[in-house]
């Protein structure tokens, strides 16, 4: 299984979704390193320079714009790329010639499926950790130790989010076997259905609450990641609530894979 995990990492490290993600994080880190300077006095932000120009407007306007970029746009762009990548992994496994050769060895079908899952998950987690840890270091240096605190929790939170999404994409892949359709459904789930279901409250109609319970709590997980970026106290219970969803989705995908005829 270790060999299959290693192979999955190697197979995906040069895929466009990883390359684009790395280009994106390197660009953000580079621009942040070169373009942003912060000045603190007695722990209070008193001046911000963007590419050598002192920001004249009220800092109360600049700071939210910058934090919005880091807390919403950057994680959303990364997750967009990772979901597209995830959509191709399990469909690719069904069609790849090395799959049949792997399965005639002692590796079982569930073993191969889990190896693909763990391989992609560990690759994405590595990219997330690389980005957020370096950003944390950068902000720590630039703000003379004032910023950065909970950023170290972001790779954990974001990789757990991705673990849930990957199991969802894996299940859909086993059902429809079309990478493009899996990508569209998974992106719709993450960016539209999940946040929409997250608006369900105790006073929502019963059927809305039932549907919201069937799907993983994506809005809650997203909020936890955002709170980690913003340095707010984060609620990690949505990740615990997503464990049964993830297990059920993975088991269902495994059962379907186990029964499938392979080419």
């Amino acid at each position: 299984m270790i060999a299959a995990i290693r192979h999955t990492v190697r197979e995906n490290v040069a895929q466009p979704f990883v390359i684009f993600a790395i280009i994106l994080v390197v660009a953000i880190l580079g621009l942040s390193a070169i373009g942003i300077s912060m000045k603190y006095e007695n722990g209070v932000l008193v001046a911000v320079e963007l590419f050598g120009n002192t920001v004249d407007q009220d800092l109360f306007l600049v700071a939210p714009a910058l934090t919005s970029v880091f807390s919403n746009i950057v994680p959303a762009m990364l997750m967009f790329l990772f979901i597209i990548g995830a959509s191709f992994v399990h469909v690719g496994m069904l069609q790849h010639p090395l799959t049949s050769l792997s399965l005639i060895g002692p590796l079982s079908r569930p073993g191969l499926f889990i190896a693909k899952y763990l391989g992609v998950w560990s690759l994405v987690t590595s990219v997330l950790a690389f980005f957020w840890v370096l950003l944390w270091l950068l902000l720590l240096i630039k703000s003379s130790g004032q910023l950065g605190g909970s950023l170290l929790l972001v790779p954990i939170s974001a990789s757990l989010e991705f673990a849930v999404l990957l199991s969802f994409a894996g299940l859909i892949a086993m059902i429809i076997q079309n990478s493009t359709a899996v990508a569209i459904i998974s992106l719709g789930m993450y960016f539209y259905v999940g946040p929409l279901l997250g608006t369900a409250t105790d006073s929502s109609p019963a059927f809305v609450k039932i549907i919201a319970a069937v799907f993983p709590p994506i809005a809650g997980m997203w909020a936890a990641t955002r709170d980690c970026i913003l340095g707010n106290p984060a609620d990690f219970t949505p990740f615990l609530r997503a464990v049964p969803h993830t297990v059920v989705m993975l088991l269902s995908a495994l059962i379907i894979f186990q029964r499938k005829d392979l080419s």
């Binding site: 270790i2 060999a3 299959a4 290693r6 192979h7 190697r10 197979e11 040069a14 790849h96 010639p97 090395l98 049949s100 050769l101 792997s102 399965l103 005639i104 060895g105 002692p106 590796l107 079982s108 029964r259 005829d261 392979l262």
Partner: protein, 251 residues
């Protein structure tokens, strides 16, 4: 000699779509192959040869009947590690090299450390891949990739080999080398199930032949049995044409 591969009334129907009519790929096929035999499965495209092989590799589930390897049902997986497989049109990821493909599949088969290195080097040498061992698969010719496929099938020293068109894309010298290799493997007790369209190759190699047509076993036996002297059949090609209903196309 013990029976290694056995099909008992083996059937497979594929269903296309939810309401699609089932397509019968194999129908009540029964046969057995003994240890050390080279057994050729012949048939036109779509005759069920690949389905037959894939059922024995547990890649395709039979709709009926039983597939046994070493006397055990295929689904029990006790055969894993004892079987080698060369799929038709073998391919590998473009980023990989022959060495990395062999190392990966060797790892899957439980080979580790110096044993893995030794087996990989030995297969690269046997198949004449030493010079291209570290070149990307995307830069290799079709014939060289096919040799990588054969090398991976032999890597873990299997007891049974399922070879789907093993000499496809190879030049005459490489074809001859593969035939010699197959004969040597058979003599050392390895059972070979050979799917091939090259009837001359089958005539030279196979101990016994099975002819499938539209999923049914139409004929089986050694060449002497398939070419009875009292009938007007002189070559395997004529027998093949007869059983696949193409006699009218004979010159």
């Amino acid at each position: 000699m013990s029976v290694v591969v056995e099909a008992r009334s083996l059937s497979k129907a594929y269903r296309s779509g939810v309401r699609g009519r089932p397509i019968q790929a194999l129908e009540e096929v029964s046969l057995s192959v003994e240890e050390g035999e080279i057994f050729a499965v012949l048939g036109l495209n779509g005759a069920g040869k690949s389905t037959f092989t894939k059922i024995f590799l547990d890649l395709v589930r039979p709709s009926g009947g039983e597939a046994l390897l070493f006397g055990m049902p295929v689904g029990q997986h006790r055969w894993k590690g004892l079987v080698g497989y060369l799929p038709e049109l073998f391919s590998a990821p473009a980023f990989a090299t022959p060495r990395s493909v062999l190392r990966y599949l060797g790892g899957i088969h439980g080979l580790r450390g110096s044993r893995l290195n030794q087996r990989v080097d030995s297969q690269l040498e046997t198949l004449g891949l030493g010079d291209v061992a570290d070149r990307r698969v995307s830069s290799l010719s079709k014939g060289t990739i096919q040799r990588v496929g054969i090398a991976q099938a032999l890597l873990h020293e299997p007891k049974v080999l399922f070879l789907d068109e093993p000499t496809e894309g190879l030049d005459p010298a490489a074809q001859r080398m593969i035939r010699t290799l197959m004969k040597a493997l058979s003599e050392s007790g390895v059972t070979i199930i050979l799917n091939s369209h090259l009837l001359s190759e089958v005539e030279r190699l196979a101990h016994r032949v099975a002819i499938l047509h539209r999923g049914r076993l139409k004929a089986m036996g050694d060449l002497a049995a398939l070419l009875p002297p009292n009938q007007d059949l002189h070559t395997l090609e004529e027998v093949f044409m007869l059983h696949t209903s193409l006699t009218d196309q004979r010159p």
